[in-house]
């Protein structure tokens, strides 16, 4: 039988970025979907092969726009591991701080997207407005709002400004206060629960086999977190939980982020307290003509969307030989979404994709 064909995106409110879907529906029920990506393909992996190691530092954050710091830290970690450079303890704490702040801002974005997809337009206005306070802190620390270009191989580019810690704490207090508002309006909202419970279930085994990672995997009931399993930076010194919601539906994915939000605030507060003194950067011998010893390394970390990984190959020259970026949305943004969307209603497409937190730029690079 012929199905009703329906295109979503790239120019559409209901897409999680610049991507599109081709839907075949029988009445209101989706029978088939094909994800189309490539609207943001800039060929980063190719461009990075053309640039010296340090010149890639401004390049990498563009890979994942809502949470750019992940890329910077990963790239720096990979290069450091290849070259044997060890950043100072303080730099590592600052990196954790930056990563967690970025996670918070990405989660706020996520809440906005998820609520917006469900038609609750007050939440985006709030969360993105409040995210701006985190961006203010970022701007103070890194000099940039969206792209921080702050972490560089060897450490971080600048030290904390005066009084920064207390201002971060203030922001955290503010967010904690606002979380109560969010809870009441969004996470306890009966209609949200009704719309999202039991829909778009990704089963545990399926998620694991399909390479789903991060909060989506935990929402399906598997306790796996790169921060705990493959501890990098100073995460092993910090005390935090890995919440697992476990139902695998849209609601549990939203709640998963909500619970992890609390944990991130906890981590930031610990980091502020535990941050040691010391240098913030081990300078590279030469910024432009530095050569990294030959070798290859796979580094990964836990982003707000899941496992972000960099596979870096060096052949001992001034430029990387090959960098492969493993974006977390790669798996759930294409194959998982395509398969799991079958049988869903048209109205649930946007909430489902927003709940998966599909970020096209990190799929396409």
């Amino acid at each position: 039988m012929r199905y009703f064909e329906y295109f979503v995106g790239p120019q559409h409110v209901g897409v999680t970025g610049n991507m599109s879907y081709h839907l075949w529906a029988d009445g209101d029920e989706i029978k088939k979907m094909i994800t189309s990506v490539g609207y943001l393909h800039r060929g980063f992996e190719k461009l990075m092969e053309y640039r010296e190691w340090v010149k890639n530092v401004p390049m990498v954050p563009r890979i994942c726009v809502p949470e750019p710091d992940v890329n910077e830290v990963l790239y720096a970690m990979g290069v450091e591991e290849l070259s044997g450079l060890v950043p100072s303890e303080r730099a590592q704490y600052i990196r954790v701080l930056v990563l967690e702040m970025a996670r918070l801002s990405a989660f706020l974005f996520y809440f906005a997207g998820a609520a917006g997809a469900l038609g609750l337009y007050t939440i985006p206005q709030w969360t993105i407005g409040d995210r701006d306070y985190i961006l203010d802190r970022f701007e103070e620390l890194t000099g940039g709002r969206a792209y921080h270009i702050y972490t560089t191989p060897g450490g971080v580019r600048r030290d904390l400004p005066d009084g920064f810690k207390s201002r971060v704490q203030e922001t955290m207090n503010y967010l904690k206060k606002r979380l109560i508002d969010y809870d009441r309006l969004m996470f306890e909202n009966a209609i949200i629960v009704k719309r999202t419970k039991g829909i778009g279930i990704i089963e545990k085994d399926y998620a694991m086999n399909m390479g789903v990672t991060g909060p989506n995997l935990r929402a399906s009931g598997i306790k796996a977190d790169v921060r705990k399993d493959d501890h990098y930076l100073v995460y092993d010194k910090l005390d935090f939980d890995v919440p697992v919601v476990g139902d695998g539906d849209i609601f549990s994915r939203i709640m998963q982020r909500r619970l992890e939000f609390d944990e991130s605030i906890k981590i930031i507060e610990q980091v502020l307290e535990m941050m040691p003194d010391g240098g913030f950067i081990e300078k590279l011998p030469n910024p432009i003509e530095w050569k990294v010893p030959a070798g290859d390394v796979y580094v990964k970390l836990e982003s707000s969307k899941g496992e972000f990984g960099y596979y870096i190959v060096s052949n001992g020259e001034e430029k990387p030989y090959r960098i492969h970026v493993r974006g977390p949305s790669y798996t759930h943004g294409i194959q998982v979404a395509q398969e799991k969307i079958v049988g869903m209603r048209i109205a649930d497409v946007a909430p489902f994709l927003f709940s998966l937190d599909v970020c096209p730029p990190d799929i396409e690079r």
Partner: protein, 182 residues
């Protein structure tokens, strides 16, 4: 830092895949495994049954000078908390390697990308259509012999300032009189 887990994984792999794969420990929680092109699927099959459930990525490295592509399967075991890179090399002339879909379903998209970006063929993958590029008429762009600067300059008319930079830098470098003048 003890490497007990890694050692035991290595032992098990060495025992089971003695003839077809070579395993080494890279560092804590990271192993590497080299195998031949024809052995990849059985090796992956064993590793998945061993606990490496998560296929994080499949990468491809173009070793132009060797005339080979290196396919790297990036696996992770949630149980052992260790990752393993499975590497194999295929010839650049006729790049072809069996698909990993029977073992890892998610490989479909990864292979699709490698097919598009490197022109590697994966017999058995039903969906090797273009992923990122549309109406692409150049060679596979991630190959080392594809020059993106030249291509961009020709297609989009954007000038490459590398030459200008060189001239500028020569200007800065000032007086040079080596003995060739003598």
């Amino acid at each position: 830092m003890s490497l007990d887990v890694e050692e035991s994984i290595k032992q098990d792999i060495d025992l089971r895949l003695k003839d077809i794969a070579k395993c080494e420990i890279q560092r804590e929680r990271r192993l590497k495994l080299y195998t031949g092109k024809d052995r990849v699927i059985p090796v992956l099959g064993f590793l998945k049954s061993y606990g490496f459930i998560h296929l994080a990525a499949i990468s491809c490295v173009d070793w132009l000078d060797d005339g080979e592509f290196e396919i790297v399967y990036n696996l992770w075991s949630y149980r052992d908390k260790a990752g393993i890179l499975v590497k194999t090399r295929i010839s650049r002339e006729n790049p072809e390697i069996d698909t990993a879909i029977p073992i890892y379903e998610i490989a479909e998209t990864y292979e699709r990308e490698i097919h598009e970006m490197f022109g590697v063929n994966f017999p058995g993958n039903p969906n090797l259509t273009s992923l990122f590029l549309e109406d692409w008429n150049g060679p596979p762009p991630m190959r080392k012999d594809f020059d993106t600067r030249k291509y961009a300059a020709e297609k989009y008319g954007m000038r490459d300032l590398t030459e200008q930079l060189k001239i500028g830098m020569d200007k800065i470098k000032g007086v040079r009189d080596g003995d060739e003048i003598l």
